[in-house]
């Protein structure tokens, strides 16, 4: 077994649509240790969800891993059958979806739905399942759990439903929790409650979390490492401080500049990233960000940049860094 909980190497994943091949992931490499919190940020269509879903083997029918490998907890996910996958899903890796309104089944009680995961993956029966369900509801901060297990999803508020979904995901103490925009559908004050809860739970259960979000504010407080995705590539990866204080990719810099500073003393005009997101059916030949980049050079349009490593934990794919390094070396000589 490798030292990593998640080890994705050069993954390529495409969706085959009537309009042609959509290259959703291009050479994605992610390594994640146990108990680590990784944030994946990017715009819609950048491939952040697809990357995380492929760890669970949850790729839409027309999607296929066309290159590279996906390893999780010692399993080669890309080589497993659906039947083998089912033993892992919900047991070793769980997922929380964005919208708690649609990820619960409206015709089953809360107790029944949480109990399902327990019955499927453990040999607990009858009253043991009930006790475990109640314990889980207490863990996620739901009051009167005995009453709640008899209720249906529509009887609960959005924040409560998201807590139920989290309880369900934690039923078998997974090693990895994938949270796909877990707070986007929630109000700010409820979002604060859920983030606080996830922060506490990761300590208690020592599980790894992959936090998928477009909100830089959410990753800033929670994550150890951040991967910034653009057009199916990880354009920059680093520790949270690296990404926020020493960004080395023009897209990362642009993202940080484009959000308003909350405690701004004087008014500062926002600096948007001009242009439109990439069309994955016809991706640009060189760097995918080149058409929107202010510092675009000739080479950016024709060749994809390689990884420039700044430390063991920080890299970016941008020709500007190569150029800077080259100039540095030239000066040294």
């Amino acid at each position: 077994m490798s030292e990593y909980l998640v080890n994705i190497q050069h993954e390529r994943l495409s969706f085959f649509t009537p309009a042609g091949e959509v290259k959703a992931l291009n050479d994605v490499t992610i390594q994640m240790r146990e108990g680590e919190v990784l944030g994946i940020v990017g715009e819609s269509g950048s491939g952040k969800s697809v990357t995380a879903y492929s760890i669970m083997g949850l790729t839409a029918e027309n999607g296929k891993i066309v290159g590279g490998s996906v390893e999780f907890n010692g399993h080669r996910i890309d080589q497993m059958t659906e039947k083998e996958m089912r033993k892992i899903r919900g047991k070793e890796v769980s997922i929380i979806f964005q919208d708690p309104m649609t990820s619960l089944n409206p015709v089953y009680t809360i107790g029944n739905q949480i109990g399902e995961a327990i019955r499927l993956h453990t040999d607990k029966k009858g009253d043991e399942v009930r006790k475990r369900t109640i314990a889980l509801l207490q863990l996620v901060g739901i009051n009167e759990p005995e009453k709640r297990i008899k209720q249906y999803p529509h009887e609960l508020s959005g924040g409560m439903r998201q807590r139920i979904v989290i309880a369900m995901a934690l039923a078998c103490q997974p090693k990895l929790l994938i949270a796909d925009e877990p707070t986007t559908a929630l109000d700010v004050t409820i979002q604060a409650q859920i983030l606080e809860l996830m922060d506490d739970l990761k300590e208690v259960m020592n599980m790894g979390i992959i936090m998928i979000t477009h909100d830089l504010g959410v990753v800033a407080s929670m994550c150890d490492h951040i991967a910034v995705m653009y057009a199916g590539e990880i354009v920059e990866y680093g520790t949270t401080d690296d990404i926020f204080y020493h960004p080395r990719h023009e897209y990362t810099k642009g993202l940080i500049r484009s959000i308003p500073k909350f405690y701004e003393e004087a008014y500062e005009r926002l600096v948007p990233i001009e242009g439109q997101p990439v069309d994955l059916l016809n991706p640009p030949k060189g760097c995918p960000f080149a058409p929107r980049c202010d510092s675009c050079m000739k080479i950016c349009l024709s060749r994809k940049p390689e990884r420039t490593e700044f430390s063991d934990e920080h890299y970016a794919r941008c020709w500007l860094n190569e150029k800077a390094q080259f100039e540095e070396e030239a000066k040294g000589r």
């Binding site: 715009e43 819609s44 508020s157 959005g158 924040g159 409560m160 109000d187 700010v188 004050t189 409820i190 979002q191 604060a192 409650q193 983030l195 606080e196 477009h214 909100d215 830089l216 504010g217 959410v218 800033a220 407080s221 949270t240 401080d241 926020f244 204080y245 642009g254 993202l255 940080i256 484009s258 959000i259 308003p260 500073k261 909350f262 405690y263 701004e264 008014y267 005009r269 926002l270 600096v271 948007p272 990233i273 001009e274 439109q276 997101p277």
Partner: protein, 328 residues
């Protein structure tokens, strides 16, 4: 901000909706009073269901208010006491709206040119086809699109571009006042900044006045001169943006501000979130007295007795809470 004249004065606006199959009513907006000065951007924030969108729509009388008084540029549009209800059509040339969802607010079977041209037809602004067409293209260029886009359909555009079409449509009648109902919340982060900047540019060029509704406090703070915070159909605090962020008084505003995720790891690690217990009560059965008392850490019996009034606590800063001295 140009001049100090009030463009819009709303007094004790109420908007109730009946609940199907029962006698209950949803108290969506329950006595909101606000004024917006000419050339100003007034931000309205609050959680979903607090009535901020309904307030915007009631002001334009897209839904007929249950009670209250709306005065626009010195003219009474609606007054429930004197039963005055003006015909809105002439005012629609002055008061416009940009909707939240750029996917749902554009007719999929109309070309972008016709979408932008429809308000001109309704108000019979141009006599010839050529003038109309020239104006459509001028508007599209104004919002960062081009003439070639006029013949295309909404589905051919990205979210940010569609929102630009929605803005061009609102500008088609040369309005003075625009209700911006969550105009950027459906857009990607990098596109949000483009659209926010465009709103600011248009305001400068055309002297527009905005009612900017959003749940994202950092965007509202950025674009607004003054901000009103809503909770369960009531305005609980109003102040200039900077005053509100740095010297908020109402306990709800404070928790709202502390809950905003700050995109700066060092600040985020140090800051303490004020976590509110529980959820927003139902607007069908709002609590007696202060609407926030069921989640407020300072609430006591006095809060249940009556709805606290919005009182001036500093110049231009109002808050509705009877325990402001206790809030630390």
């Amino acid at each position: 901000m140009s001049g100090n004249k009030n463009l819009l004065e709303v007094t004790d606006l109420k908007q109730y909706f009946p609940v199907a199959g029962s006698r209950a009513v949803v108290h969506a907006v329950d006595g909101v009073s606000l004024t917006i000065k000419k050339g100003e951007t007034f931000g309205l924030v609050g959680e979903s269901g607090c009535g901020k969108t309904t307030t915007g729509r009631s002001i334009l009388r897209l839904t007929e208010p249950t009670a209250g008084k709306i005065v626009y540029d010195g003219e009474v549009l609606f007054d429930s006491e004197t039963k005055q209800k003006e015909d809105m059509l002439p005012y629609r040339r002055k008061m416009q709206i940009v909707f939240q969802d750029p996917y749902a607010s554009l007719d999929p079977r109309m070309t972008v040119g016709d979408i932008v041209g429809e308000p001109m037809d309704i108000h019979k602004l141009y006599d010839t086809k050529e003038d109309r067409r020239a104006r459509i293209i001028e508007l599209l260029e104004h919002v960062g699109l081009n003439s070639e886009h006029a013949n295309r359909f909404p589905h051919e555009f990205s979210g940010g571009q569609r929102q630009r079409v929605g803005i061009a449509r609102a500008l088609a009648v040369d309005p003075e006042f625009i209700v911006c109902d969550e105009p950027v919340s459906a857009l990607d982060v990098s596109i949000q900044a483009q659209v926010v900047n465009m709103f600011e540019d248009l305001q400068k060029e055309m002297g527009l006045t905005y009612l900017f509704i959003a749940h994202d406090l950092s965007i509202v703070n950025h674009i607004s001169d003054r901000i009103g915070v809503m909770y369960l159909g009531h305005l609980v605090e109003v102040a200039e943006s900077e005053e509100l962020i740095f010297h908020s008084a109402h306990p709800y505003t404070r928790s709202l501000i502390s809950a905003v995720p700050i995109a700066d790891p060092k600040i985020a690690r140090e800051s303490k979130r004020i976590i509110l217990e529980g959820d927003v009560p139902s607007p069908v059965n709002p609590p007696s007295g202060c609407p926030f008392r069921t989640r407020c850490p300072y609430a006591d019996e006095a809060c249940a007795a009556q709805m606290p009034e919005l009182k001036e606590i500093a110049p231009g800063h109002q808050a509705a809470c009877i325990h402001l001295d206790k809030v630390s």
